[in-house]
Amino acid sequence: MSEPDGGPRTLRVASWPRLDRLLDRLLDLSEEEVCRELAGLVPEDLPLRPRLEAALTAARGEAGPLARPAAESWAPLLVGELPERPAVAPGARLGPWEIEGELGRGGMGTVYAVRRADGVYDQPAALKLLAANADEPASRARFLQERQILARLEHPAIARLLDGGVAPDGRPWLALERVDGVPITLFADTRRLSVENRLRLFLAVVGAVDFAHRNLVVHRDLKPSNILVSASGEVKLLDFGIAKLLDSAADELVSTRTLLGAPLTPQYAAPEQVTGGAVTTATDVYALGLVLYELLCGARPYRVDGGSALALERSIATTDAKPPSSAARNAGEAATARSTTPERLVRRLAGDLDAIVGKAIAKQPADRYSTADALRRDLENHLAGRPIVARRESFAGRARKFARRHRVGVAATAALAAALLAGLAALGYALLQSRARLAEAERAEAIQGFLLALFSEVDPERALGREVPLREVVDRGAARLATELRDQPRARAELLLTLGTIYRRLALYPEAERLLDEALAVTRGEHGERSPEAGRVLVALGDLDYWRDDYQRALDLQLAALAIFSAAGVDSRAEAASAQFNVGATLRQLGRYQEALAAELRALELESALHGEASLEYADVAAGLALTLQNLDRSTEAIPHAALALVTRRRLLPADHPRVADALEALGLARMAAGESVSAIAALEESLAIRRRVFGSEHPAVLEGLNSLASALEDAARFEEALAVRREAMPIARRILPPVNDSLAVHVNNVAGVAFRLGRFEEAAAGFEEAAAIWRFTAGEKSTRVAAARNNLGFALLELGRPGEAKREVAAALAIREELLGVESAGVAQSLRILGLARLALGERAGARADFDRAVALSRRVYPERHLRLAETLAARARLAAADGRNAAARQDLEEALAIRAERLGVESPLTEELRKEVAHLPPG
């Protein structure tokens, strides 16, 4: 890169002062004025003229290495690591650790005995060289980050992580405290520990797991061989969080299963690990239950018995385990190992211990002990002779049964019932939480009583065979709340919040607002302005404003909620993450895409840490992020995020769930932007069908779906069908949306778009103007939406033979887009093409040519290869070239455009035919 003194660059820099002065004079001038000035340059400046012209073009254009900020342009360079020589041999050193010998091998990798060899201090350790590849910077970074979290996990019963790194060949390694001990089950059997002593030993394990959970680390692979007991009876847990760590470093292709949270050790896998559900602290509770099972009766509840891993997984997910007491029947050996007889062992286990184990290994995570600590308390209850929680049938269980039994009665509209059930489930959960705190039992009972009374009215028997619409149930609830529970303000506030939220889901916004406003006032009075409880109501109010398109107000509310939850610390982490997600979504609606992206990336990070990447929460953020990326013209990046969201939701939600529809829509839109029309339309149609089934026809979500579908049809040049869809949408929009409203403007703009395509330019121009006027009000002049409408308006004006006005509109749109979307965006390419057409119509050929050149170059960069928009731009440039008599250039562009259209639209398409004729009419040469 260096060059000798006096090279061309040195010479150039020497004339920069002169160039700088000339630029000062020319930068503010119009193109015509620049031409005049250039023509009149003084002789000594004349040699600078070509450079000056090039520099001016570069200053106005937006190409070159500074087009996108550094980290975007050079992301791989920024995060890439240097490749190193692969070399791991026995006796070698990894970090400061010298390998002494091999301790063992397993599915995870190889374990070595190592000793610190840097002379700092003499410390033996076990070094695990993982059979994963962290050669990719992303894996490596994640691995190292996880490692740092684990290094903080200091507990007497957890083997410490001392160090870790990545070997030269890319394999991650971990140095761990070396533990001399035997698996807990073996220890207990060889010492013939009694059931009591086994329980006490096990309590130490539970305590360590609980400690890790409080530090937000889940083990994910608890099993006896990871729970060692030393000769002196000290418990040490190994490999805490390492499954996650391994997963984090893993190559996606080789270990897709662990990526989905699947187990490393099938025998100890929880149902959610087998079925690909979210791995949480409840997964560890399950594994603890299995270990306890084995400790108590010497058997495992699910056996392989020569069956395949698949059969084992199926039995884990579906069959009920025998209680430990019955597994202990006829188990003479197990009884001996527990210093007792089979009959006594059975009696000892039956009852409390069966119940405790049963609750710990429940199939549904929600039916298990909610924390390891809860399991510990119940075991202590048992040891102290107090009644245990597991034996009382839980309220949650009864509530679920109740809901299941009465679902039929409420199911007049199944989808709306789902909305209600979701609300009640949330309340049920809150109820369960509050049950745990005796001080709030009264409130819980008040809520329970209220709900039971409400539901008894829709009990099929009392409803006399009539199907009761959900709306009626909620109305009744709201009416009751107006007078009841005045002496129970906290319970009342929660119910106001729940019913308000259900109203909002039913798109009954004024009713929702009334209840939520009251909920906020009561909650603030009861818990304080900045309490998480008040934050929750702010979230609901924010949702309400979001859904009625008052995004600015929604954003304010969400930011207020986010501030509360962020300040509330660890307990409100999940709520903070969700508030962060809401902020992102609202910024997106406001067209503030860069900010939205930042917020969503942050939410993604929070959710990844909190719930994991296979969770619904993560999927929600990914779906939003896909929309944002797409709005930033980064649709190819959007597709995998949308796809991930869809896959997760399909896995975890019912087929007809609205959020499945949302993910389908996001995916469809991203595909559409990437030029994959056919699959885009299929996804959008499926999305719309789900929404219709769920919401009926008069709902904003259906409107949105119609709108997306129509856009995709237009993109595929299926205008008649697009128009039909738009016509269906318009009256719904006018009926259910307020007159000055973002969504309404979307519809107005899009209907105008169809009018344009059908050649009705007056009508189109009027529509675009109306849309721009609404958006000026809702989003502000400098918004991508106003830019879109003005760009369209310009195009329509051009078609109406008013190129002067057209140029003004498009130039304004271009300036806004360059600023908001960045210069390397599809929006800019589109504006440039139309601007070029306008200039051409005004006879500004040089300007038009420059615009087309830029538009073509940009289109090649921002669109996927052989995109139809590139064809349009090439065709425009070709026509100008032909008019200038540059036939070779014209032919080249036309032929490329023709090839694209033939490929994308088919050889018979009239648009392809049109270009073929143009090529034929070009003079040869």
């Binding site: 450079r51 520099a55 980290a71 975007e72 791989p76 360079l77 995060v79 970074a141 610390g569 840490a609």
Partner: protein, 210 residues
């Protein structure tokens, strides 16, 4: 883990609260050592954030300069409200650090390439970067480009330091026109104008190599 409330991440460097603000102030008072320490801090943290930003998206390289630098700011300065001069110093420093990291990485990359000579093609990067790889540039090409931009910027610095500072803010710290104007205490109009001129001169520099 008190990670996400604006305080330095538990997984990051442990800093006394307000340390970065203090360093910024000390630097403002002429303390070179404070500036050096700050740069070292920013260097490590920015690299870490960049890695993590990328690691969080398994599939795509959605790295964003703006997001990175603002995250850096939130992490290191967090809830403290620095003086506006400190803000300018912070973003200026962050930009310089980003430039430094990229140049270092570029040098390592090219040196490695010359040295080893056996490095397979950049296939791995291509599959890692997904969408970004579609932009074509191999790591080596990017490295060369980064060094070229660094040199061009050095030339611009000698010609007009103000223009170079703006380019650093906009290109390496991802600051918008508004932010740059606020940080530099200039009108947006002036900033837009300077940006045009800087790009014109840089284009001239690159044009000479073509």
């Amino acid at each position: 883990m008190s990670a996400h409330s604006g305080a330095p991440d538990a997984a990051g460097i442990a800093l006394p609260p307000g340390e970065v603000t203090r360093l910024l102030g000390a630097w403002g008072g002429g303390d070179r050592a404070a500036a050096d320490r700050l740069f070292a801090l920013l260097y490590e943290e920015l690299r870490r954030i960049a890695h993590r930003a990328l690691a969080d998206q398994r599939h795509e390289a959605t790295l964003q300069t703006t997001a990175l630098v603002h995250e850096l700011y939130l992490r290191l300065v967090g809830g403290f409200k620095p003086e506006s001069d400190d803000r300018r110093r912070f973003f200026g420093a962050a930009a310089k650090v980003m430039r430094r990291i990229l140049v270092d990485r570029a040098r390592e990359r090219l040196a490695e390439k010359r040295g080893a000579g056996v490095r397979p093609s950049s296939l791995d990067e291509a599959s890692l970067m997904g969408g970004a790889a579609a932009d074509g540039a191999s790591l080596e090409a990017q490295a060369a480009e980064a060094l070229a931009v660094d040199q061009a910027l050095a030339a611009l610095e000698r010609h007009d330091p103000r223009l170079a500072e703006l380019v650093e803010l906009r290109f390496f710290a991802g600051c918008s026109v508004e932010e740059s104007a606020e940080l530099l205490g200039l009108s947006q109009r002036t900033v837009k104008r300077d940006w045009q001129k800087a790009r014109a001169l840089l284009a001239d520099w690159f044009g000479a190599g073509a």
